[in-house]
Symmetry: C2
Subunit: 281 residues, 2 copies
């Protein structure tokens, strides 16, 4: 049996309070384990919060990973509870500073993804990564990781799927998008649903609640199945919430890879696509 429970914890990390944030994450990781989860996805920037004034402030709370208090806490929890964790961290790597998400398993640190698409003020706080878009092999399946604004780029989902990812785990700090009407789901959720559908892949977009230094976050976490439809969520915009979905990353491969209705990976026309520089009239 390869099916398991995937959890997403939507809550509000606190800026600059690393020890308190470790406690908060422990609460949600234990809740997920109690619900039977074998993988739990936490929000972006779960170690130290998000709305830093500048790079110097972010550096104060950044930790190496592996190494540092967050690594120790999550590794111990993953080992004790026998589960996997994907969560956002403010990462120091020598002189460099990244908005990262890490994968930790029962045997410790299993992978790090550094945000490829830096949004807005992030460009003056974090370094730009040149590491690529990794996919991590685990006993649960092939797991790609993205962070928040990465979902605005369909290439994030496509690159993951082309490398064999069964799931894109996407810690996020989604913010209100201008003009959002009540009549359709929030854009972040639609990006996760279409990204899942067009890539026949699970997507877990796990966001945060609350307001930090005037920046509102919108919650709305979502676990989408490989046909794009919600398996859990969208969560509400305000309340903390644990999302739970039974998924089968490995067992679903035959059905996903031979979907008679559509084959948006196999039917690509890579001979026709443009991907280079932008032409503007």
């Amino acid at each position: 049996m390869t099916a398991f429970v995937l959890a997403g914890a939507q809550y509000a990390p606190r800026i600059g309070e690393v020890a308190a944030n470790i406690d908060l994450s422990e609460h949600w990781i234990r809740e997920a384990a109690a619900a039977g989860a074998r993988l739990v996805v936490l929000p972006e920037a779960a170690s130290a919060g998000y709305v830093f004034d500048d790079r110097a402030e972010a550096e104060r709370y950044a930790e190496p990973f592996p190494g540092g208090s967050v690594h120790r806490a999550w590794s111990a929890l993953a080992a004790e509870l026998g589960l996997w964790i994907v969560g956002g961290v403010t990462e120091r790597a020598g002189e460099r500073l990244y908005n990262s998400a890490v994968l930790v398993g029962p045997h410790g640190h299993a992978g790090t993804y550094r945000k490829a698409h830096l949004w807005n003020d992030e460009q003056r706080i974090y370094d730009r990564q040149d590491d690529g878009l990794p996919v991590f092999s685990t006993p649960l399946g092939e797991i790609a990781v993205g962070i928040c604004y990465d979902a605005w780029f369909p290439e994030t989902f496509r690159s993951a799927a082309l490398a064999g990812a069964d799931l894109l785990a996407l810690p996020a700090n989604w913010v209100p998008v201008p003009g959002q009407p009540d009549t359709v789901p929030v854009m972040a959720d639609m990006l996760c649903m279409t990204g899942a559908h067009s890539n026949q892949m699970y997507v877990a977009g796990i966001s945060r609640t609350g307001t930090e230094r005037g920046q509102e976050f919108i919650g709305r976490s979502l676990i989408a199945g490989p046909e794009g439809w919600p398996l859990a969520g969208p969560a509400g915009p305000v309340a903390d919430e644990l999302l739970l979905a039974e998924v089968d990353l490995i067992g679903s491969r035959p059905a996903r890879h031979h979907n008679p209705f559509n084959q948006p990976l196999a039917d690509r026309r890579t001979d026709l696509y443009r991907s280079g520089p932008l032409a503007r009239p």
Copy 2:
């Protein structure tokens, strides 16, 4: 003033009835003109219907374009009414047969797009095109054309935007997608909304109604603005409907190209993306 009214006509062409379909299209084109439209988008396969038994049957109703009765009718209407038409046709080009959409303006035939991603049985009916994904320059703006299943491929939207398209006009014959829940918009509409948002481009996905040889179509036509939100529609699933939206393809360029909230074209990380063959675990 570069703003104008964009129309989309959602209705039900009839299989094999080319003359009747020309009359039907004329009705909707005149309705659009009466509402002040300068561009009207018709469904996919508007000349001869969609659910052909085989290639031989499709060939019976295919016409060259330019040349043929549909070309004559749409050119005459565009000239008389001073507008532009994008509509789906079954195209014969020598020995070849295409599921195409044409652009016709006041001075006649202005461009042809042949469906790049053939869906399901289309692969045994139509030829595969090697022409690429064109963008046509018009006085209204730069217009790319896609057809139905093309929207399942984010590369369709991206390729259009990278070539400078202001609008993707997408005639469609959308069918029910398995598992569609009532709680979220139909997948086709979400693909149009996210495609518009992630490419800061207008998208007009104009579908059809009715049932043809047992194949149900779902309507749900939509005109999305460059932030992804619906400007007109989604239309209902059953009724014929004329969608109307005021758009400004050219005048909106400065705001679209310098959106302070997100820059999903400029912020791409083309150094990191995968686009080649598919790896599967």
